[in-house]
Amino acid sequence: MTDISDTGASRQPIDRSRLIFWGVAALTTVLVAGPIVPIVIQAFLDKPLYDSSAGLTLGNFTRLASEPGMARVFFNTLYFGLLTMVLAQVFGAVMAVLVGRTNLPGRSWMGEVFIWPLFVSNLVIAFGWFTMYGPSGFMTLAAKTYLGAAPWNLYTVTGMGIVAGLSQAPLTYLMCLAAVTKADPQLEDAARSAGAGPFRALWSVTIPMIRPAVIYSAVLNFVVGIEMLAIPLLFGGPSGIQTVTTFLYDKGINAAVRPEYGIVGAAAILLLILVALLVWLQGYLMQASGRFVTVRGKASRPSILDLGKWRWPAFAFVFAFIFFTILSVFGGIFMRSAVTFLTPLIPFWKVLTTANFDLVFESSTYVRSIVNSVLVSTIGAAIGTFFICVIALVARRSEFRYRRPLEYVALFPRSLPGIIAGLGFFYAVIWLPGADMIRGTILVLIIAFMVRYIPVGFGAIAPALAQIGEELDRGSRISGADWWTTVTRIIMPILKPALFSCYALLFIHFFKEYVTAAFLYQPGSEIIGTTMLQLVAQGDNGPVSALATIQVIITALFVIIARRLLGAKIYG
């Protein structure tokens, strides 16, 4: 045994852990505030942000209020969001109970199909709906031919809401599924022994317990509806229906002469406040959810309810839902990409062609957008995973004094709609001295995507981190490791599965992203999403379907590899 004074682990000249705490906190704050601050300033300026002669004004808001049709735009947005939410909740929750807790035939493969839409962007989904159910869509024409008329018109706010609601049902399904399958079966057993029949026990005990999941996903879907660009753009555009996002998009990008910064900033602020309020509401409603916490550490198998003679009617219902809202939508995209003209009136094989793919692969712009998408996702997700992991470690496993505020800031992008994040970073790179260097590069896309999806990655890492006992950190510290050595040598290796999951989730989100990039890309930094957005606007449906097909295939390959090789958990 030796003297205590010099056998401790080697001294650091500066306390690097403290440097990391402050560095991470500062970087997070700058990145999150980056897109918001310029928008707020712009909303109160009478000239563009970069014009040094600009003065303060409230004029943008009065102009916005007096703009003809503005009330209509806000009404459309709220109605669209509300309809999206209601439909998604009803169908998602019912499907979760049927798939998760009954002996529905084919429940395992149908449950798998149910989460497909979560892997692709709502631009792809919207395009699929358009191809099948649009005015000259495959299903519409089929209905007109064989039934005499198609009883739907998706070019209305209600139609848009139906499309969005049905395509958001998988999100509700996913959240409710976790709740119904993880509920303690003993609670239902207790109801059974108290005299309740199996349906009664499910209805009176388990269904009420999924309330937090329903509330949580309800607000989430409302927010998704309000900030959604693709569906309002594809279905509202042709008939002149606008929501706040399409208004921002049109004014911000498509304004022929020059973008109207002031009014865009003002509208963006209103949207930001609305979404922030909803996210706050979500947190407020979830506060009392402790009384519904039933998840036990012990793995337990939920009992399966026998539907009896209702088995096949239930199957017909679920299968119809899957067929019309998922299988046919994906099928429509694939079919459209392989033909010159998609119609039920001409046999499929007579119009088969590879022209759509040829067009994509012959254009350097289209190929570049595919390459860029892969680069942004592969590299961006890696940087993002590391950054988010360090944030989570500082927020949850350090003695940093401001760790709580750091977590709060890091999770703020939940309230940041993609279109606003894109717009904000667009302003920021123009406005901040030196930031012009990264303008129009894929680097700015990576940064913007990363900021937007910090909460997604955090959600994948934080629960796993909570599973790791604090004694493991303490044991390392007392063995002579400082904070940074402890987290890199002890915590991160144990956290590996969660980091893989985080990477996979970020990859998928980055790969399908298009809204955030809409303002940020320039020739050279296109990604699949922005190219598709551009082509959709021009009505070039052939290459759009080919690009969408390529995007789906790459995503599917990635999901299979991530699940098999890395054992990543992606949506269950």
């Binding site: 045994m1 030796t2 003297d3 205590i4 004074s5 056998t7 401790g8 682990a9 080697s10 001294r11 006992g469 004694e471 493991l472 303490r474 044991g475 390392s476 510290r477 007392i478 063995s479 002579g480 490791a481 400082d482 050595t485 040598r489 002890i490 290796p493 144990i494």
Partner: protein
């Protein structure tokens, strides 16, 4: 080797004082146990020594190195304290093998591979776990994990070893063997050791000295024998072993002895003590110290046998004389309905108030 000094150590959590004004000097090589019920502040104290809790005020010193000084707002971070710590849950890193668990602190100390392997072999040899060097923690039993945890805490030869209820996750038989083995190892290495437990039998068995704690304060510091035989207050008398508390009035208090009168009128000679303001006292006496005798004499009384319980190694009775009720223990069975008992003065302790609480 080094001694550990705690001076006026206070640890507050918000408005709650978890540890209040603790003063302990642990000489080099001593095995000191912090003993008390849960929530008494013993683990809090231990982790403050390790630097994993922040003390509020006071000083913590090991040898001549100040680890914490409340006045100077000076805290050495845990990684620079060079202290060995064994956790209740062992805290073995699940992704590292046994050998790698031990290697980590040595790598942090920039030790070469050859020397490292030598140290690891030596430490694993000490705890008889050498054959398990390449196993992973989940492949070991609880007892084996506990040994590895101890080896990991010793491998860098810290001058101070802290043990936080290291045996509480073992089953009863293994626990008894492990504590003998632990004490032998500590004597061999002569490492200053602070041991935290709520198990009084364990504390009595392994310690050089015991610090009994309750509600953040130290109630008594002494050898196991002192703690058991001469408890400083009624809490210690009750917590270590078990005691009868007999209500009495102080009749006379002298320099070497006191006279008290029990509720039934019996007068007892006891060691001197302090009485409450109204002259009432409690006499603490352990059931196994009360003797059954054949005839009356000083400190004797006749009692009725009210209840009889067979405990295997002993018989325990509840006996009564008027309003005075207490327990006694014998190694043989009493069949008489009434016996004479003697309460030896040297085994009595006099306190002003009865311990109230858990």
């Amino acid at each position: 080797m080094a001694d550990l000094v705690l001076e006026n150590l206070t640890i507050n959590y918000g408005a709650v004082a978890a540890v209040e004004n603790l003063n302990i000097h642990v000489p080099s090589g001593e095995f000191l146990t912090l003993l008390g019920p849960s929530g008494c502040g013993k683990s809090t104290t231990l982790f403050a020594v390790a630097g994993l809790n922040h003390a509020t005020s006071g000083t913590i010193r090991v040898g001549d190195k100040v680890l914490f000084d409340g006045k100077a707002r000076n805290t050495v971070p845990p990684e620079r304290r060079n202290i060995g710590l064994v956790f209740q849950s062992y805290a073995l890193w699940p992704h590292k093998s046994v050998a790698d668990n031990l290697a980590f602190p040595l790598i942090l100390r920039k030790m070469g591979k050859a020397e490292r392997d030598e140290r690891i072999r030596e430490a694993l040899g000490l705890v008889e776990m050498l054959p398990y060097a390449d196993r992973f923690p989940f492949e070991l039993s609880g007892g084996q994990q506990q040994r590895v945890a101890l080896a990991r805490a010793l491998v860098y030869r810290p001058p101070l070893l802290l043990l936080d209820e290291p045996l509480s996750n073992l089953d009863a038989k293994l626990r008894e063997r492990a504590r003998v083995w632990l004490r032998e190892l500590q004597e061999r290495l002569n490492v200053t050791t602070i041991y935290v437990t709520h198990d009084q039998a364990e504390a009595l068995a392994v310690s050089d000295r015991i610090a009994v704690m309750s509600m953040g304060r130290m109630r008594q510091l002494g050898s196991p024998r002192e703690i058991y035989e001469r408890p400083a207050d009624s809490f210690v008398a009750d917590f270590i072993g078990s005691s009868n508390f007999l209500d009495a009035k102080l009749v006379q208090n002298g320099a070497d002895a006191a006279q008290v009168r029990l509720a039934d009128g019996t007068e007892l000679t006891t060691p001197p003590g302090r009485a409450a303001q109204d002259g009432s006292v409690v006499v603490a006496v352990r059931p196994e110290r009360v003797e059954v005798v054949s005839e009356m004499g000083p400190n004797c009384m006749r009692v009725m046998v009210e209840q009889k319980v067979y405990l295997g190694s002993v018989w325990q009775y509840v006996v009564r004389a008027g309003a005075v009720e207490f327990r006694i223990q014998t190694t043989w069975e009493i069949n008489d309905p009434s016996v004479i008992v003697r309460i030896p003065a040297e085994h009595c302790a006099l306190f002003a108030e009865k311990f109230v609480g858990t």
